[in-house]
Amino acid sequence: MIIKILGSGCKNCQRLYQNTLDAVALLKLDAEVIKVTDFMEIAKFQVMRMPVLVIDESVIISGRVPEKEEIVKAIEKRV
């Protein structure tokens, strides 16, 4: 599983990144969590509100920072 966090590196993006790492650790999942800060890359996902959580190339959450528990549920749905 590849998880991407889109955002230019502001505080919200960092929090989403941290929450996602926590969620992955909690699930003891073998997933790669990548930060995407390049606007050219971000633009490919056609989203406007940062930060964005992308799981296996599909946009899951955009424009807010979900808590760890919500990310866990989102990942479980796609395992």
């Binding site: 989203v47 406007m48 940062m50």
Partner: protein, 336 residues
């Protein structure tokens, strides 16, 4: 009658006069401070402002985050696309005031708007008004300077955004948008991930999380801002301040705008300084210019903008906004 009620609400909820009364009682009656002393002036400013700002900040962020969960940027885009010309710019500017977003979303929004085929001027009207005018800063300005000035601030912010966007369109600046922004995309590719369905409970918890996050992030700047404001208020003689930034100096507006550019301060950290300067008799035009410069011309957002537009467009944007703010400052210093 109605205006009476409004004035009472204003004094209770926004100016929080009761808070001032409480601290006056503590400082003057309990600690026996001298009402004429510098220390009293500084301390009462500090206590009153700090508490007022934290109450206002929390309530306002909560309300505006809650409203934000209902505003869909995708709908904004589609609405703007239907309208062109002057009305497009005006609507773009108005949308900018009611669509709050995290500052790191401004570039993805720029890309989204441009791909949808929106005129470059409409996009810039949106980008100018969005950081400058938002609910939280307007209510805060009202609490410090009163509603008349808050409304004036909103009005001139929107006018600047409309004129700036119109000029950028007229100069055919769309030539200077980086190729990758539009290459290979048209609006038929439009973003498929619409708004999520949110429950009431989720909206409230999102808003509360936002309050905690922003308070955690800006409390230091607020304390520093209020402390500087308090020192200016208590210890710096009025004639020193007006000597530097008084309305009799033609250059005071320039100084204010230039000081504002590298400051990456939150509006909530900037306003206590503006408030203290205002109480020291610095004219309103100079103060408005300072606040607009801090919010709209911040260095980090200019660096981000550089990634999607060529230097011609970036320079035009900076020149238009800077000149606009300076002109606004001058006009206000002349008429008030």
């Amino acid at each position: 009658m109605l205006s009476d009620i409004f004035a009472k609400l204003n004094s209770w909820l926004l100016k929080m006069d009761w808070l001032k009364a409480i601290f006056d009682w503590v400082l003057l009656d309990l600690f026996g401070m001298n009402q004429e002393s510098d220390a009293y002036a500084s301390l009462s400013f500090f206590c009153y402002d700090i508490i007022k700002i934290f109450i206002l900040l929390s309530v306002l962020i909560f309300i505006s985050s809650y409203l934000q969960t209902f505003i869909d940027i995708e709908t904004t885009k589609r609405t703007l696309k239907k309208i062109g010309g002057f009305w497009g710019n005006l609507l773009g500017a108005l949308m900018g005031t009611v669509t709050p977003f995290c500052s790191c979303s401004s570039i993805p929004i720029f890309i989204g708007f441009t791909r949808a085929g929106l005129p470059v001027g409409v996009t810039f009207s949106f980008l100018i008004s969005s950081p400058m005018v938002d609910l939280a800063s307007v209510v805060y300005i009202a609490s410090v300077f009163g509603w008349k000035i808050a409304l004036i601030y909103v009005g001139i912010g929107i006018i600047l955004a409309v004129i700036g966007g119109t000029l950028i369109s007229a100069l055919k600046m769309d030539r200077y948008i980086e190729k990758f922004v539009t290459e290979g995309y048209s609006d038929t590719d439009a973003f498929v991930n619409g708004m999520e369905k949110l429950s009431q409970k989720m909206r409230l918890s999102i808003s509360w999380a936002q309050v905690k996050d922003i308070v955690r992030r800006v409390w230091k700047y607020i304390i520093i801002g209020v402390a500087i404001g308090a020192l200016i208020h208590g210890y710096i003689p009025t004639d020193v301040v007006s000597g530097l930034l008084g309305s009799n100096h033609w250059y005071s507006v320039f100084v204010a705008v230039i000081m504002g550019i590298p400051m990456y301060a939150d509006i909530f950290g900037t306003l206590p300084i503006a408030e203290a300067l205002f109480l020291k008799g610095v004219s309103l035009g100079t103060i408005l210019a300072f606040m607009m410069s801090v919010t709209t011309l911040s260095l980090p957002s200019l660096i981000m903008l550089k990634k999607v537009v060529k230097k011609e467009l970036l320079t035009t944007f900076i020149v238009i906004v800077t000149l606009g703010i300076i002109i606004i400052g001058f006009i206000f210093n002349l008429i008030l």
